[in-house]
């Protein structure tokens, strides 16, 4: 039986050369994201803004968003966003935070129930008060920052500082581009999005660590190979694994996008984008960044010390070489 190989054996792509394109490209995209973030802003969900979200489903399968909008405007609860979703008469209402503290929020749901209960099934009702939403913003931000710091500490401990920094550059890049994806698609940014971003952080590091692991191994083996060549070799020798894992992960996410239902689709789409970006950044951003982070310097010093010890074995009895 002939088996499938998505990446041919013994590839010799000059990946790090691409940094002349990938670095400016990613910098440009990141800049665009930053500008977009400041001008347009994220489409925050009620987790972070507070307010009320109601998902209705027409009992007869025929939703009438226009009618719902008209009735909802009569509530006098501010700007109500009404949208159709799904295929079977789904209508969603989003009501902003009501002035007058936490209690005022509950009144919105009561009004909606009175108005729509006859024709629609209440599939989902979520009300988040202003205090809780503020706390969710805090814990969400804290989560992303903490995870980066924790992983950086781990990598510093397991590898070396340059590797840790290189990996974090890649991860930050992935977070920024994912946020850019949120900005362009206008996908709602909520607590689940934070989960998606943290998972992307995990996946991004996973990708990077696999390549870096190989780099570390090759550094020990080929002490005189130029860094660029060595990095290319690391990426090439892990390339088929990178492609395989990206494919299997993307396949499962694709299943989730196609069959997972409305409630989880956004999460799956963002993750799918994340997997692609993570794969790109592991190869074209994190790995070449090592050239500038001075991996060369520290390891050459170690290598020379090693050679010195070999040349004059009798002169020193202390720990020979500082190879990691």
């Amino acid at each position: 039986m002939r088996l499938l190989r998505i990446v041919p054996d013994n590839t010799r792509f000059r990946f790090v050369r691409f940094r002349r394109f990938s670095f400016p490209f990613s910098a440009l995209v990141s800049l665009a994201t930053a500008i977009l973030l400041l001008t347009a802003g994220l489409h925050f969900g009620i987790d972070f803004t507070g307010g009320t979200l109601i998902e209705l489903q027409a009992r007869n399968g025929q939703g009438n968003a226009a009618q719902v909008r008209e009735i909802a405007h009569g509530f006098g609860v501010g700007e109500v966003e009404v949208q159709e979703f799904g295929s079977e008469g789904g209508v969603s209402l989003r009501v902003p935070v009501q002035p007058g503290g936490e209690q005022a929020q509950g009144a919105v749901v009561q009004k909606a129930r009175a108005a729509f209960d006859k024709d629609y099934e209440f599939r989902r009702v979520e009300t988040v008060g202003p205090r809780v939403s503020g706390e969710l913003v805090q814990s969400g931000t804290l989560g992303v920052v903490l995870s980066i710091l924790a992983v950086m500490a781990y990598l510093w401990f397991r590898f070396e500082l340059q590797f840790a920094i290189g990996a974090i550059i890649g991860t930050m890049h992935d977070i920024v581009l994912t946020i850019g994806f949120f900005l362009i698609t206008r996908i709602e940014f909520n607590m689940t999005s934070i989960a998606a971003i943290l998972t992307i952080v995990g996946y991004s590091l996973n990708e990077t660590v696999v390549v870096f692991d190989r780099t570390r191994e090759l550094l020990r083996r080929y002490k005189s190979m130029p860094v660029e060549e060595l990095l290319d070799l690391s990426v090439n020798s892990t390339l088929s694994r990178t492609a395989m894992t990206a494919t299997t992960t993307a396949l499962s996410l694709l299943a989730l996008v196609l069959f997972g239902g409305d409630a989880i689709r956004d999460f799956a789409v963002v993750m799918l984008f994340g997997v692609i970006v993570c794969t790109y950044s592991a190869v074209f951003i994190s790995s070449p960044s090592l050239i500038y982070l001075g991996v060369k310097a520290s390891n050459r010093v170690a290598a020379e010390a090693d050679q010195g010890a070999v040349k004059k074995p009798a002169a020193r009895t202390g720990p020979a070489g500082a190879a990691p």
């Binding site: 749901v109 989902r124 996973n206 088929s240 395989m244 992960t249 299943a255 997972g260 989880i264």
Partner: protein
């Protein structure tokens, strides 16, 4: 290394068997599981025949999640108002007139009396208002709920201490949870979950409710506590209710319709000991209005039993020994310490101690929950088929090994979640689907390494050996970084998001076992049986 001892093989197979055993209850309906639990002979330890399944999150089974917050300002206001009433009563009793009346401060009250003699007269009485913090039966901290201080110009200040306020909020939360639990139980839904969250919040989770408004109404209402005399002489039917009783062997007790005092006039109730008999008792205290009514009624009815009625049920009916005019009294009734504690709690539970505000509500209708489960199942199956096929066409026989490990991996996740009674949420399902994609990563790492080693000229057995050994460090590092991110998500997330983190963490854990140990065993067995000359991929 490729030689696996029989013991090790048996251990791995046993672990796999246990995984399937513990995951199995998820295939049965709740009724079947309960039946299994009931039918298990008592001599058979529970772990042999497990009946625990994963708990479905509210987003999957439908239900309401309501986060309530105790209004601490309201609580302080109430306390200050009570304090003011108490001070006024004491001043009146001691015939002391404050200059300019009693004024309230943010956390207390103050007034001025010019005469030192008057001041000395009221100060000891005022100090009696302060109560030690902590449970009288379980040890005290020595701090008081309030401080009485004096200043220039005959100033007297009563201030709630910071510890006192905190203690009050904390106790209010405990009381409210007790009240809420009793209320939610009346809804007759299965497995409601009520728990304290943070310093001043209560989380109420009720599965399977169609209309959360009823729940919210119920959570917002005050319970009814009444003090009514027992009608000993019979009395006419129009004036007497036959009320069920907790003691009295469950016999109904005739109680007068006339209510002496209601729960809303009760300001506090604490367990304690009778000073003479050392018997556990409950001390209670009324506000001014309650104290007056109670004092008058008890003076006129010494010797009669007074029924304490909660939600139209007689909690107890102690006999009035002395008139109770001071606004506080005690209930004795041969209680155990625990019973005294409970009664005190019940008395306090009479009214919600403070306003509860809904700060977050999330309700998912049962229809959406069902649809989500169906969609999640489909996605899981499709993802499995995609990945299994892809692994097989890429690695052939080795892909098959990885696929077996993948199935066991999913089974292990369910087994562990069942064992831990973890909650499966919709994002949790997404987590499972995602780990199906990432679980084979370890296998891919190993297989690619084996290929490389074989291409470098190693013999097949030494290539396999080196592949496993060299890939392991990478697997360890890459999974650790994923686990760190998942752990932080678990610590900071709540509800559905936390459900995702749980699945992802467990997934990382089991994948290392299945993808490394289990695949390695299968390859070792294959090598021993087939004696291959070359790698199958």
């Amino acid at each position: 290394m490729l030689r696996y001892s029989t013991g090790k093989i048996v251990a791995i197979l046993a672990l796999t068997f246990l995984g399937f055993l513990y995951a199995a209850p998820n295939l049965f309906s709740k009724e079947t599981r309960t039946a299994i639990a009931a039918a298990t002979p008592s001599w058979l330890p529970e772990w042999i025949l497990p009946h625990k399944a994963v708990v479905l999150g509210l987003d999957l089974q439908g239900g309401s999640h309501v986060l309530l917050e105790v209004d601490s300002n309201d609580l302080i206001r109430t306390q200050v108002a009570t304090m003011r009433d108490d001070v006024r009563r004491i001043l009146r009793e001691q015939r002391v007139t404050p200059q300019g009346g009693i004024t309230t401060t943010p956390r207390g009250v103050q007034f001025r009396v010019a005469s030192d003699a008057d001041r000395e007269k009221v100060l000891p009485r005022l100090r009696e208002l302060a109560q030690p913090i902590g449970n009288a039966l379980l040890g005290q901290t020595g701090t008081q709920t309030m401080e009485v201080t004096t200043g220039d110009g005959g100033l007297v200040q009563l201030t709630l201490t910071e510890a006192g306020v905190r203690d009050r909020i904390s106790r209010a939360l405990g009381q409210a949870i007790e009240v809420l639990r009793k209320r939610v139980d009346q809804l007759g839904t299965t497995e409601p979950n009520i728990q304290r969250q943070g310093a001043d919040r209560i989380l109420v989770q009720v599965p399977g409710l169609q209309d959360p408004q009823r729940l919210k109404d119920l959570l917002g209402k005050t319970a009814k506590l009444q003090f009514r005399f027992v009608a000993e002489g019979g009395g006419s039917p129009g004036e007497v209710d036959m009320l069920p009783s907790k003691d009295n062997n469950g016999q109904p007790v005739p109680v007068e319709k006339r209510v002496i005092v209601e729960g809303e006039d009760l300001v506090d109730a604490q367990p304690g000991f009778d000073q003479r008999t050392s018997e556990p008792i409950v001390n209670f205290r009324f506000n001014v209005r309650g104290a007056q009514k109670f004092g008058q009624a008890t003076s006129e009815n010494v010797g009669r039993p007074l029924a304490i009625v909660l939600d139209n049920e007689v909690v107890s009916a102690p006999r009035i020994i002395n008139p109770i005019t001071g606004g506080s009294g005690q209930i004795s009734g041969r209680f155990t310490v625990e019973q005294a504690n409970d009664l005190a709690l019940l008395l306090r539970a009479g009214a919600l101690p403070a306003k509860l505000t809904v700060v977050e509500e999330r309700t998912v209708g049962p229809g959406l929950g069902r649809d989500s489960i169906e969609a999640g199942k489909t996605a899981t199956y499709v993802a499995t088929v995609f990945v299994v096929l892809f692994m097989f066409i890429t690695y052939g026989l080795f892909g098959l090994f990885a696929n077996i490990a993948l199935i066991v991996h999913v089974v292990f996740i369910f087994a562990l979640m069942s064992l831990l009674s973890a909650t499966l949420t919709l994002p949790g399902i997404a987590g499972i689907v995602l780990t199906i994609g990432t679980a084979v990563d370890s296998n891919v790492l190993i297989y690619e390494r084996i290929r490389e080693e074989a291409k470098a000229g190693r013999s097949i057995i030494s290539a396999i050996d080196a592949g496993f050994n060299r890939a392991f460090a990478t697997i360890f590092d890459s999974n650790s970084t994923m686990a760190i991110a998942a752990l932080i998500l678990f610590l900071l997330g709540s509800g559905p998001v936390r459900g995702f983190a749980v699945v992802f963490l467990l997934g990382i854990l089991t994948t290392v076992i299945t993808a490394v140990t289990m695949t390695r065993m299968m390859i070792a067995l294959w090598y021993r049986i087939a004696r291959p000359k070359q790698l199958p991929f």
